[in-house]
Symmetry: C2
Subunit: 399 residues, 2 copies
């Protein structure tokens, strides 16, 4: 089981026992999200946080100006699949990213988090087997645990993955879903190679598993590495590709998207309908207008420059300050460093808060792998002076 | 079973049989929503629609102007419970509506549809019994059917409800939830009396069932009838109250809210987290700003005047044109007339579309009750000249 994080009581107060009502199995199983609960602690004055995966507001562009006519065009109820204007822009952008698709395959969601929830609800029953990377995205583990999935961990090595182990799982088990974050993975930062992508697509087709490819960090590519979506290479199996504007533009607008194999699309559409009718239209229009301006490539270059410099700085600070025996790989993109220490560091969240630095122990993200000696450090939102001070505070706790 | 509507093939194309994938039980059970699928037909040129429950865009106020500083304040990720500013405004507004609550009980949702989905997921397992009004809100029936609930119908008479029948259900079954739309009910327009509200609250407390009170139409009160929420009268049982800005302000922003008993709140909060992290912040800010202006009471008066006139006009047209034997009650609020005909009118959707008028047969909304002779007509969005022409077209089909 994941999510065994030792959260201090002041962060996650115990939920009282329900005395008078019967919750559903989902309600009983659903764990909280330590990351979101830690966010409020991170915002205390003087606290330096490496915890959240928040983009840096400094590099968010201004929201496009909309005329009153444009504003008036989005106040009425809209369609469940999303705004046509945005879908058209997405077809074009995705094509440039190597994923050809049609408007009719795109469903606009309330952030890609909603896409994960819809995909999981449509594919997972209690006891269903789901292959997930180990470690993996905490909030997807939360969703899958809530649904009662049996998680089959596929261990990420960070130096090329053991696809024989993946095939072994596909061969010997009946997974309903293969959930991967192949591009600047959360939490490890790992980016799958071209060959790994091709090989995995072949396995997906051979064993007929549904691939759910979660791809929120694609724009944050600092070293120009290969990132073509695995879904592009899948020939037969149904697949779902999840994208987001939260790391490129404005997460507060909660606008993400799914691209789905035509066989799956009608079910996702229905579930979206039943879940919240449709995604907020103003957010969709603002993003469509931004994409129409044609400045996204320039904006992404600026993002890359901004975060690359932070990544480099973080790496240098880790080299300079960390004691011997701590290992990591500098990520080619995304928002996270994944550190492996020599000793158990489960207590570092609590100790760090007392020392004014917030880090996330790896056990929040692991299933079978040993996360007790790992830490995830986000470098995306923190300023450079804070970064150095934060690393110093962390090192004090390690020595 | 509900949702046996005879939808013409051009509206709801058959979803192909899934050949290669295993859907979850939820995915297999989840029905489509005929209303939303009919929306596109309704928008064909020359078509007059009494189908959708859409507010009239003519009476939506302009969106408040926001400074660039204000816009910049909502582009980052926000909190799962929602914007403090909006919650503060809501506490004050709800107190005036007779529901005293604290900020900590309010969860901002992506429309009240999301609130319904969250509430149902947290309370309903496959086979769980749920008491619903018969007829009831189609999209909640869709959610409950998707979850595999056993629906226990509580028949609405339109002339005061049979609370003995309700008590009988509470006494002899183990319902997890009592789902009611007590104020200008969808589809019947019925508004529960003060005494009914008090009596139901007592039943809820006596039998310990969770009350889910769905209240999107409260502002559309044309005759000044009593509307204090039933949740106000509940003393012990856990309850969830669902509100929406979609009928008062701008549905396209997808901003609704739940107020929950403190015992239930932490679970709703977790489910919201896992479902989409948080509701879009720009919509929340726009609504909070509008509420801060203090013009909501004036705006609601204008809404009431506008829709009251439509309601009166519709009633007069029905009196003037409909053949003998059709019965209805003019609703004191909301958006719908519920007609009972002498003969089966299941074919009227198909026939109406051919004749250029869209109406919803009652069987979309009923569980055990006979909806085959009923029609729901919405008067909220249609213009007065269209209303007369539409009724004429409908009458042609009835004679």
């Amino acid at each position: 089981m994941a999510l065994q994080l030792d959260i201090p009581a002041q962060i996650s107060p115990q939920i009282p026992e329900i005395q008078t009502l019967s919750l559903s199995d989902y309600g009983k199983r659903l764990p909280g999200s330590p990351v979101r609960e830690i966010l409020s602690v991170s915002q205390q004055p003087g606290m330096i946080s490496f915890a959240g995966g928040l983009p840096d507001a400094v590099v968010m562009p201004e929201l496009p100006q909309l005329s009153s006519q444009e504003l008036a065009s989005v106040v009425q109820y809209g369609t469940s699949e999303g705004e046509r204007l945005l879908k058209q822009q997405l077809v074009s952008w995705l094509s440039g990213e190597g994923l050809a698709c049609e408007e009719g395959q795109i469903l606009i969601t309330s952030g890609s988090q909603q896409g994960l929830d819809l995909a999981a609800r449509l594919l997972v029953d209690p006891g269903s087997e789901v292959i997930v990377e180990d470690p993996s995205y905490l909030a997807m583990l939360q969703i899958l645990n809530g649904l009662g999935a049996e998680l089959l961990p596929f261990t990420l090595s960070g130096h090329g993955n053991d696809l024989d182990a993946l095939e072994q799982l596909l061969q010997t088990r009946q997974p309903r879903m293969l959930y991967l974050i192949p591009t600047f993975q959360n939490p490890t930062g790992y980016c799958y190679s071209e060959q790994e992508r091709i090989d995995i697509a072949q396995l997906v087709d051979r064993y007929g598993v549904v691939l759910v490819e979660d791809d929120p960090y694609r724009a944050l590519n600092y070293d120009g590495v290969f990132t073509r979506p695995i879904c592009h290479y899948v020939k037969q199996s149904p697949w779902i590709y999840l994208g987001s504007f939260s790391k490129m533009l404005w997460p507060g607008l909660r606008t993400g998207f799914m691209v789905a194999h035509p066989e799956l699309y009608p079910y996702l559409y229905r579930a979206k309908q039943a879940t919240d009718l449709h995604t907020n239209r103003l957010g969709q229009l603002l993003i469509a207008r931004f994409l129409q301006q044609g400045t996204l490539p320039t904006h992404i270059e600026q993002l890359q420059k901004h975060y690359r410099s932070k990544r480099d700085n973080m790496h240098r600070l880790l080299v300079d300050y960390l004691p011997k025996g701590v290992s990591w790989q500098s990520p080619a993109g995304g928002m996270f460093f994944w550190l492996t220490l020599e000793a158990d560091c489960q207590r570092l969240l609590q100790q760090g808060i007392e020392a004014g630095v917030v880090v996330l122990p790896g056990s929040s993200f692991t299933i079978a792998a040993d996360g007790n000696r790992c830490l995830r450090l986000s470098f995306s939102q923190i300023s450079l002076p804070e970064m150095e001070e934060g690393i110093k505070r962390l090192v004090m706790l390690l020595s």
